[in-house]
C-alpha cells in the first residue's frame, strides 16, 4: 500500500476534480440519467465478476464465514451508531435511527473503489466479497427502522411494515447485484467472456467518470448541508473509522486473508447513499434527509475514498497473522 500512489490514481483524481469543480461553483455537471446509468453498469459489472470468480474458485467454507461476519456486522453496527448519534450528536430518535440505518448498510461505490485500490496494491479481495456486499445492503437498514419504531417513529407498523420490508429487500440495487452475481455464477464461461469487453474492459474508465460525478454531488451536498452541526460532522468521520476497524478485526479473527479482510472493513466503514436513503425517506418521512444524506454522502463517502480505504487496507496488512 502506498498512500501517495493511491491518491494519484485516476479514479481518485477524478473524484477530487469533481469536488474542486463544485467548490469553485463551476457549472460542470453530469446528467442524472447518465449517472444512474453508470451506477447500474458498475453494479451489473461487479455482480457478474464476483459470480464468475466464485464459479471458478468453487464454493468454500470461507464464503460462509465471510457472509456470517458481514451479516453480523450489518446487524450490529447500527446499534453503537444510534447511541453515539443520540448522545454525542444530540439527534432526536428518528433522525438518529435514520442515520444509523445508513451506517448499517454499505456503499457500493466505496467498495468498488476499494477493490480497485486493493487490486492495484497486489492484494485483491476474493470474488465472493460481492455476494457479501449484496448481503450487507439491507439488514442494517431494517435494524435502523426497528430502532426508529422502538423509538416511537410513526411509520413502521403492520401492513406498511411488510410493504417496507418488501421495498428494502427488492430494492433495485440489491436485485441487480444479486441477479448479476447469479448470472455470473451460472452462465457458460465462453458466453460470459464475450461480454467482458463491456463489463470488464470499461470498468475503470466508467468508474473515473462516475467518481467525477460523485465528487460534484458530495461537494455540492456539503455546501447545502445546513442541518449538520460540527458534532454530527465529527461523527460522520468517527463512525466509518470505528466501523471499518471493527470490520477488519472481526474478518481477520474469522480467518480471512488481508485483501478480503480489508474489503470487509471497507464495507463496514462505508455508509449507503443509494439503497438506504430511498427506503428511509419512505419509512421515516419525519427524519431529515439533509442529515442522513449530508453525513453519508458529504462527509463519510469522501473520507472513505480518500483516506478510509487506505487506512483499512494498511490495518488489515498490519494485523494479519
Amino acid at each position: 500500500m502506498n498512500g501517495v500512489e493511491t491518491l494519484l490514481s485516476p479514479v481518485i483524481l477524478f473524484f477530487l476534480l469533481g469536488a474542486v469543480a463544485a467548490f469553485v461553483r463551476s457549472d460542470l455537471s453530469i446528467p442524472e440519467a447518465i449517472a444512474k446509468g453508470m451506477s447500474l453498469y458498475l453494479m451489473a459489472a461487479i455482480g457478474l465478476k464476483g459470480g464468475k470468480q466464485v464459479a471458478e474458485a468453487g464454493f468454500s467454507i470461507e464464503i460462509l464465514v465471510a457472509a456470517g461476519v458481514g451479516l453480523l456486522l450489518s446487524l450490529m453496527l447500527p446499534l453503537p451508531a444510534f447511541a453515539l448519534l443520540r448522545r454525542l450528536g444530540g439527534l432526536n430518535r428518528t433522525d438518529a435511527a435514520a442515520c444509523a440505518a445508513h451506517y448499517g448498510s454499505v456503499s457500493v461505490v466505496t467498495f468498488v473503489t476499494g477493490v480497485e485500490v486493493l487490486t492495484a496494491a497486489g492484494m485483491p479481495p476474493a470474488g465472493y466479497m460481492v455476494a457479501v456486499l449484496a448481503l450487507m445492503e439491507t439488514p442494517g437498514i431494517v435494524v435502523g427502522l426497528l430502532l426508529a419504531r422502538q423509538a416511537g417513529g410513526s411509520a413502521v407498523a403492520g401492513a406498511q411494515g411488510s410493504r417496507l420490508l418488501h421495498e428494502t429487500f427488492f430494492n433495485g440495487s440489491v436485485m441487480l447485484l444479486v441477479g448479476s452475481f447469479v448470472i455470473g455464477l451460472v452462465a457458460p464461461k465462453d458466453a460470459l467472456a464475450q461480454t467482458l469487453p463491456f463489463f470488464d474492459g470499461l470498468f475503470r474508465g466508467v468508474l473515473c467518470l462516475f467518481l467525477l460525478d460523485m465528487g460534484l454531488i458530495a461537494a455540492r451536498r456539503f455546501r447545502d448541508a445546513r442541518a449538520m452541526t460540527w458534532r454530527v460532522a465529527g461523527l460522520a468521520l468517527l463512525l466509518p473509522i470505528m466501523n471499518g476497524l471493527i470490520g477488519v478485526t472481526l474478518a481477520t479473527l474469522a480467518g480471512l486473508e488481508p485483501g478480503s479482510a480489508a474489503a470487509l472493513g471497507i464495507l463496514a466503514g462505508s455508509a449507503s447513499y443509494i439503497a438506504a436513503p430511498a427506503v428511509v425517506r419512505m419509512a421515516l418521512p419525519e427524519a431529515d434527509p439533509g442529515l442522513y444524506l449530508g453525513m453519508s454522502l458529504a462527509v463519510t463517502f469522501p473520507f472513505n475514498i480518500i483516506f478510509g480505504i487506505s487506512l483499512f487496507s494498511l490495518y488489515a496488512v498490519w494485523i494479519a497473522p
Binding site: E32, A33, A35, K36, S39, S154, I217, R220, D224, R226, A227, Y273, I274, A275, A276, P277, A278, V279, V280, R281, M282, P285, E286, D288, P289, G290, L293
Partner: protein, 102 residues
C-alpha cells in the same frame, strides 16, 4: 363547447413518497392523475436538486383534477402529512369539458 368548473390539485412530493400521495388520492375516489418531473427548488428546509441515483432527493409534481367534494376529502386526508412529508399543496380552479371524467 360547454365547460365545467373543477378543482386542480397539485402536490410537490419527494419521489419515494409519491406512491403514498397517489394512494390517498385513489382512496378518496379520484379517478386520474399525472406525475410531472421537477429539477430544483428551495424552501424552509433548504435547497435541493434532482437526484436520480438514489431518488431520495428527487421531487415530483402530482397533478389531479377532480370535483370539489373529492378535492376536499383529499385535502383533509393529506393535510396532516404536509409537514412531516415536506409536501407543498396547491389548489386552484380549472375548467374542463367532459365533466363526467373528472
Amino acid at each position: 363547447m360547454e365547460t365545467i368548473r373543477r378543482r386542480r390539485i397539485e402536490v410537490l412530493v419527494d419521489a419515494p413518497l409519491a406512491r403514498r400521495v397517489v394512494d390517498h388520492a385513489l382512496a378518496v375516489g379520484i379517478a386520474g392523475y399525472t406525475l410531472m418531473p421537477t429539477l430544483e427548488g428551495q424552501g424552509g428546509s433548504g435547497h435541493w436538486t434532482d437526484d436520480q441515483l438514489s431518488g431520495a432527493q428527487s421531487k415530483l409534481m402530482f397533478l389531479s383534477v377532480t370535483n370539489a367534494a373529492k378535492a376536499d376529502a383529499f385535502v383533509d386526508r393529506i393535510s396532516p402529512l404536509l409537514d412531516s412529508y415536506g409536501l407543498v399543496l396547491l389548489l386552484s380552479d380549472v375548467d374542463v369539458v367532459r365533466a363526467n371524467k373528472f
